[in-house]
Symmetry: C2
Subunit: 330 residues, 2 copies
Amino acid sequence: MRIVITGGCGFIGRRLALKLLEQGSLPNTSGGADEIESLVLFDIGEPTPPIPPDPRLTIVTGDICSATDIHNLIGSNTDVVYHFAAVVSSGAEADFDLGMHVNFDGARTILETCRKLETSPRFIFASSVAAFGGDMPSVIQDDTAKTPQTSYGSQKAMCELLVNDYTRKGFVDGRTLRLPTVVVRPGKPNKAASTWASSIIREPLQGEAAICPVREDQAMWCLSPRRVVDAFVRAAGLPGETIGANRAIGITGTTHTVREMLDALNCVAGKAVVDRVRFEPDADIQAIVSGWPTHFNPVRGAALDFVHDSSMVEIIEAFIEDELDGSFVS
Amino acid sequence: MRIVITGGCGFIGRRLALKLLEQGSLPNTSGGADEIESLVLFDIGEPTPPIPPDPRLTIVTGDICSATDIHNLIGSNTDVVYHFAAVVSSGAEADFDLGMHVNFDGARTILETCRKLETSPRFIFASSVAAFGGDMPSVIQDDTAKTPQTSYGSQKAMCELLVNDYTRKGFVDGRTLRLPTVVVRPGKPNKAASTWASSIIREPLQGEAAICPVREDQAMWCLSPRRVVDAFVRAAGLPGETIGANRAIGITGTTHTVREMLDALNCVAGKAVVDRVRFEPDADIQAIVSGWPTHFNPVRGAALDFVHDSSMVEIIEAFIEDELDGSFVS
């Protein structure tokens, strides 16, 4: 089988690719699994660091908004497309046109290209809890209306509708996973308003100082990178009729406050590590983060056996194992 | 002030235009009203029957999908755009690409053109209860998630998100009205699965037979053309802060079963008129109509003082008055 991952050199795309190459197969919707013959990662640039060569692996660079690039990418033998390529929240907010072009038009171009194959390939899309916002209940239910307060969230919510309709029409076999905030992300702090949620774990474990700009009672709906990758593998094998007409699934996660995150860090790594975190309240960031939903009741995601982390301790231990080669600076 | 109505020669556009010319002004968001200097109706063809000439009125024919046509239509002195142009439900279902081009891309082109004015004009959009569907509660609440089961409904729901985001960014001052089924529509039966809801009133009152393809206990969420037009006038004058960040408003209506419709017809016009309706169950139509939501609790629409009809009798009497010159064939 042939799998294409857009945004394949990004954080999640890369991890999914490595996982797929390692396991050698992907679940199909008949209860079995198909051997992976070809895995294509599409992105705007080459992966850094490079991904070890593999005869099954191809890296293609191009523009997600170019119909020609996408046509060349998604050939008639494509069985599954994972669509991760996106401009992040802050980027889509700063440049509305760029966000619409990449996050909405890009997804539409890929859906159209899949449709033209006339084989209804599986199309697996990453949506976000940013699709929620505004006036919300204290706990987000599966049937809570989406009134996003960002362009990024609006574009994701529009794509969810598009994936559902393309699926209903038989153009693709879509499944959309609405992801919690991914914690702990590797790498460096970025401009995202949520960057502290990874920073306050990641930097102290490497002997560096970290700043927490929000209150210690601020909660966050979290899922580890390991569980996110597992969820995308699982999504490929769910029979469509099991998911139902609404192909957008709020997957399971866990809610942790800053205090709980730091308590778990203390438990795993000790007080000296936690002491590298300094609270520097930032009213702007606090205001943005306060607008995010923190508690969810994903009944469908749980019924579809998506698995969340058992604790913040598990999330931190997985990060140390996966990203720090099993050790940290105490 | 200058007002543009797309789909201005259609059923609702035409009625709104006549109403606006008659009253001579449109409410503004400061509690006053502005004199209408120019009213432009944009459509694919001339109105039939012709609209009586008026120095304030201009008819423009063109293509809603043509950026050039829309650019020429929406000049820098445009204060309010009513966007009604759409491919109807059955049309968007039969031709997916046409539906996307007209219902989604058309709305986006108009929003973009309004944005380029840099004056944040009022943009008033007609959405539909077809935005709901699939697994729904027995009563649709304002915060019920939209999982439409038609391409038309998906396109409307996507546009609702777009109007909200364009408003949040200050590109337009948007307000979206989610309309009940408009009953009684004038004219002839069409291919819409809801066409019977008008037919079973309209045809018998003109001495003609009508067929009802659904069960007599089938309910429908209804609003008369008169109230729809009133709602679009009212929408123009609501201050944005009164509406809130979610500019999509489910306006109020009333739920009536076929039996209740015919009882009201009997009350207004007598048994001989009702006897012109014949029940011919159509399983396909019944299946489509059974999937539509029938009961709503539009708390926001009611709080914003949108007015619904007081009874089915009132709806029928308004139809006789407005469309049949006050008389019917008994």
